[in-house]
Subunit: 518 residues, 2 copies
């Protein structure tokens, strides 16, 4: 009798604890979704005159979210759950939920409200200072803001805590479980293969002609094309939508039920829109694939920034820049712009999307050089945060690294150290981009193993088999698992740069006709 | 010394109390704005698949707003302020702020959360039942929902409290200070003049030709025209925006800094868009005219539903259906649709917008018959709430009143008692429409007194003098004053139906060439 009663009581207690945690999470995620929606509105529709009042509204919401995340009762509940959740009567979903709740609770309680507010204020000022500095090529005017941001980020790291370096604490926010020393190991072969491949391409004398991507492309038709491409990837418009914003991005207001993308058409260069559509589509199908049961919790959606970026890049680069993909989808491009593409075939179009050219600007970079841009930033920001370099030496160090890795050197800081918005708000995000490329190559390899006739199927125009596999193996889990265990689950191996090295080498050896021994 | 100290202390205490009240109000209004933005998104962009999750998000926000409005410390503060705010060291703005905060606090504390939630649930079910009932012309299936809504609204009235009848408690929510017996007096001459004018027009043999309003009008050009008309009214797009939704409406997300309108173009009938643009523009310039210092408080924006409707109708009907207005604005219509309007002059266009024709459907009604639709609903809903009639007798009573007042009778309940959405959510709103018409005529009369050459100035195409006058005399005050004192301030007289009676009579005597003695 006693045993039976205990079992019943434990069972009830488990159910009750998870239900209580879910109540907290639902409320928080509902509020967060409304904030994300307001940010979406800011990027797509809000009139400029509303900027100040919207700032107040967002600050109020952040205040309430902070209040919710630091609720002492939530802390007690998480403490009660921390041990028992390891037991067999709890599921992986329960464990993921408790882990993510704990991460957010810790961060909220470790960072005092006045620090968070100070960071928000400095971000706002720093953003404006960065905008003006870039416009006027004036690094010196931005330097004091950057100094202040570095100091605040160091304080964040100290309060959050870390095992090896301060930078690890910042990294962990975007990529749970990641450290600078793990990144050093992962990125070394990436830097090597990128530099080597670039030299081999440049000395090969072989070229890629991308002139077919230049022309006159009406905005309306570009937007129509965008919709066709997104539908072709399996993006579900009944749980989504598309809008125009200054920079393309994806946002959700309750995954998987409301996931929307933005793009930004350029009148004379079709590549921007096409690749942005597939890139954002990758982020979006990942969110839409999250299991409905996870909705309104912090484990709905993506596992990390790096894993998220892996899906945008898997779709954009591995799939969306392949000839097989365009054999299946090129009809939409031709239909949208018949005159431009009447005498261009799918293979020529796909080849044009893969032109390699070292440049100064990250967001214009091709697949071979992209990660070099990231590695420059990673190396510098790591040293900045760990206190190894001084702010005023940054432009010189930046330029030297560009010369060394990419063989080009910025004539101005606006084209160099001032080009990205990121450092006006914080540090630790850039590595996500290259991690995304590594994860993408590894997942792409698993995908191709699962479907030996991958290219043939892709060339039919039906991508359902890819999305179905990704949903089942990966997307449905949301953030139940952190990046490393998730990669093991999906690909059978821990994150490893060799997949990317092989992918990049074989792809560009083929495109540029490089001899394997050159 | 003591006196001086006391003064200082009182002063500090006043400042501190108002500052504390403002802190509460700012937070509440910021959250409310985010909710209104989410509703806007629902009407303009949200995918259908997001309906359920958005429902949760809105419910969460409502819960927090309810928690904020019932904060006991807010009650204590309002209690402290209730007497002292009458003193001369407080301003009318302070008094308006305390009054509106008190109204909201009272309502939130008097209506228990379970009642509010029950109302929300019944509304959702009732809306669906209404939609189906209207589609299938099946009043009986809607009757039980209507019964339940009546019962809940009676309970609301009992809890809120009232002096004369339950209906007064519901009215007061939309129109502070209004009662059914005041409405009876205000509406009697409106009913009489409407019925009489309609009979005079019908027996005059005179007609208005509105065939120029029918044609083929592309959506894109209608939207462009809409923007030109709104700009012409002084609507500020740097604090606004326009979108398409199933039903036109205006919403603010922090007046006066973010006030947006929606319209709904009809391909073959230009009148819908043109009049909706000016109507919503009237609501919007009212909100945009609210003093910036009132932002983020419950006294930013309009004084009541009736006063709000007065501004949409002043602009739409008194101004926007006048020949003088179109002499100034018609160029935009011609430019948008040159072929359609090449051989139509401004006077013909303006005259077409004033065709009188008794119809069954309120939202299609002209100025002469519109208020009869409202009076039918007012008379019936007053009796429903006060318990004088049974639900099942409603269709018969509705049809009888239409026959008596308008001389037409619905063949089906879908065209009759089931036509409006309003009764699926509550009662007491309909009178706002006719009150708006009365207020509008009274304000229009004051405007014309202020500018003896009103028509000449309007005909030049510059409407700035109108908007400036309205902003200075009325809009800037937001909801500092309740409707009756506000009307006295703006027009020098309490609300009075005689202005409307004179306006309607002289306008339609002229249009239909009625003899004053017919």
């Amino acid at each position: 009798m006693l045993t039976q009663e205990t079992v019943v009581q434990n069972f009830t207690s488990k159910e009750a604890r998870i239900a209580e945690l879910l109540d907290y999470m639902h409320e928080i995620q509902d509020l967060k979704a409304l904030g994300d929606l307001a940010e979406w509105d800011q990027n797509t529709a809000m009139p400029e005159g509303a900027a100040e009042v919207r700032g107040y509204q967002m600050a109020t919401l952040q205040g309430i979210l902070h209040e919710r995340w630091t609720n002492p009762r939530l802390g007690i509940l998480l403490n009660e759950l921390s041990e028992v959740v390891k037991g067999s009567d709890y599921t992986d979903t329960d464990r993921g939920l408790v882990r993510e709740a704990q991460r957010n609770f810790d961060r909220a309680t470790k960072l005092p409200r006045n620090l968070v507010e100070e960071i928000a204020r400095v971000q706002a000022g720093s953003f404006e200072a960065w905008r003006r500095a870039r416009e006027h090529n004036d690094f010196d005017s931005f330097a004091p803001w950057l100094s202040r941001t570095v100091a605040l980020q160091r304080e964040v790291a100290d309060r959050i805590g870390f095992a090896e370096t301060r930078y690890d604490a910042l990294l962990d926010y975007f990529e749970p479980g990641m450290t600078a020393s793990k990144l050093d190991k992962l990125f070394a072969p990436v830097r090597e293969v990128s530099v080597t491949l670039l030299q081999r391409i440049q000395s090969s004398g072989s070229t890629v002609d991308d002139s077919c991507l230049q022309g006159d492309f009406s905005e309306g038709r570009q937007m129509e094309l965008c919709k066709v491409l997104l539908r072709g990837m399996g993006y579900d418009f009944s749980r989504g939508g598309i809008a125009i914003s200054p920079h393309p991005y994806t946002s959700d207001f309750g995954s998987p039920f409301d996931v929307r993308v933005t793009v930004h058409p350029h009148r004379h260069f079709i590549q921007s829109l096409v690749m942005a559509a597939i890139h954002e589509g990758g982020h979006a199908v990942y969110e839409q694939g999250s299991a409905p049961a996870l909705a309104r919790t912090p484990i709905a959606g993506g596992a990390s920034m790096g894993v998220h970026e892996s899906q945008s890049r898997l779709w954009e680069n591995a799939i969306g820049r392949s000839e097989a993909y365009w054999l299946g989808q090129y009809g939409a491009v031709r239909e949208a712009f018949p005159e431009q593409f009447a005498s261009v075939d799918a293979a020529t179009f796909a080849r044009a999307l893969n032109k390699v050219q070292p440049s100064l600007i990250r967001i214009e970079a091709d697949e071979v050089t992209y990660n070099l841009h990231i590695i420059v930033r990673f190396e510098l920001e790591k040293e900045l945060i760990n206190g190894d370099i001084a702010i005023e030496t940054l432009p010189g160090l930046w330029n030297a690294k560009y010369r060394e890795y990419l063989g080009v050197e910025p004539a101005t800081d606006s084209q160099g150290v001032l080009q990205d918005i990121h450092w006006s708000s914080g540090f630790g995000y850039f590595p996500s981009y290259t991690l995304g490329n590594l994860y993408a190559a590894q997942i792409y390899s698993a995908l191709r193993r699962a479907f030996p006739n991958f290219d043939e199927r892709l060339a039919t125009g039906n991508t359902t088999f890819i999305l179905d596999w990704l949903c089942e193996k990966m997307y449905a889990f949301g953030a139940i698992y952190q990046p490393e265990p998730l990669m093991k689950l999906v690909t059978g191996a821990a994150p490893n740069a060799e997949y990317f090295v092989r992918y990049l080498t074989s792809k560009f050896e083929a495109i540029y006709g490089l001899s394997k021994y050159s």
